[in-house]
């Protein structure tokens, strides 16, 4: 097998692993923000490496890690350039899907800013800043809505 074949074969395996994780898990998470949170949760905080037992068993640890990394980046790219109104709608749907107290969740998101850890390694600096800024504003808008302010979520 030539080095080229080997590279192609690895790329194919990563591609298959990506399709696998999409079919089995990601497509079942309806909100893209939820997909981002899920993918970030598969990453080790210290090493930045991705782990998924099922995917590693079907492919290999290395291929699974690379597939998850690429998938994470893809989902982030999509979200980083999403209009603010859509981010607000997604955040609302994501918080609803948690079945927790909305006010409490919003307060946690405002103070702890957990969305900071969902950013993939290697993403562009300005894209990261735009994403974080959009989520921060989205949290503020939903918090204002919670307090009874008229907010046109889902209108446009």
């Amino acid at each position: 097998m030539s080095p080229f074949d080997e590279t192609e074969s690895k790329a194919e395996r990563i591609s298959s692993a990506r399709r696998d994780i999409q079919d089995r898990t990601l497509n079942k998470i309806r909100v893209p923000l939820g997909r981002l949170v899920y993918l970030a949760s598969l990453r080790d905080y210290s090493s930045g490496r991705y782990y998924h037992d099922g995917l590693s068993m079907r492919f290999s640890e290395q291929v699974a890690a690379e597939a998850l990394k690429q998938e994470h980046m893809e989902v982030f790219r999509e979200l980083a350039h999403t209009p603010l109104q859509t981010v607000v709608e997604q955040l609302e749907r994501y918080l609803d899907s948690l079945h927790e107290d909305r006010a409490e969740s919003l307060q946690t998101w405002e103070t702890l800013e957990p969305y900071r850890v969902v950013v993939p390694l290697g993403a562009g600096g300005l894209a990261i800043r735009l994403f974080l800024s959009n989520v921060r504003i989205a949290v503020a808008i939903l918090a204002a809505q919670q307090q009874g302010l008229r907010v046109p979520v889902g209108v446009a």
Binding site: P83, G125, A127, R129, R136
Partner: protein
């Protein structure tokens, strides 16, 4: 006499503004704006186009304005202003690096054409001027609905790349790593 004083005051004010922009740019570069350094603003072409239209467009602002909260509006404008300034700064830094690469290549070249060099200098100067103008306008009225000015600066950046690319292959090599307005141009192709 009072007319001269008025012109002098205007000139001083303009010089003060320019000085502030330059100093602020340096301060942002070194301290408050770590993401705007070269290499940290990597976007593929399409995403950079999306990013610039989001930053300088009005869709998000119209939505925030419809919310009806002054506090959220202020927070939004403050954040977008910082991001837009970082974006302009990154584009300017990349063009500056291109000019540096061109200068290095020009020093060793035996086929220097003064007319072409003059065109490059003028293209660079007009691009830098537009960046400074963008910087000033963003500071004064924010980044919302500035797409026309951004496109103008983008076309100047495109022109600069075309001219440098015609003279030295270094521009093509450098183009691979360029991320600012040039990347936005690539994204539209």
């Amino acid at each position: 006499m009072s007319g001269i004083a008025l012109y002098l005051a205007g000139g001083l004010l303009l010089a003060g503004c320019l000085l502030r922009i330059i100093l602020d740019g340096r301060a942002e570069d070194e301290f408050s704006n770590p993401f705007c350094r070269t290499g940290s603003t990597s976007f593929s072409g399409q995403s950079d186009t999306e990013l610039s239209s989001q930053l300088f467009g009005s869709e998000d602002w119209r939505y925030v304005a419809s919310v009806g909260s002054r506090k959220i509006e202020r927070e939004f404008l403050r954040a977008r202003k910082t991001l837009a300034l970082a974006w302009v700064h990154a584009a300017k830094t990349e063009a500056f690096a291109l000019m540096n690469a061109h200068r290095v290549a020009a020093r060793t070249s035996t086929h220097l054409d003064l007319f072409v060099e003059l065109r490059i200098t003028l293209a660079y100067a007009s691009f830098v001027f537009l960046c400074m103008l963008l910087n000033l306008v963003i500071r004064i009225r924010g980044p919302v609905e500035l797409q026309v000015l951004v496109k103008l600066a983008d076309s100047r950046s495109e022109r600069l790349y075309e001219i440098v690319g015609q003279v030295f292959p270094v521009a093509q090599t450098f183009d691979e790593g360029f991320n600012g307005m040039q990347a936005a141009r690539r994204g539209r192709q």
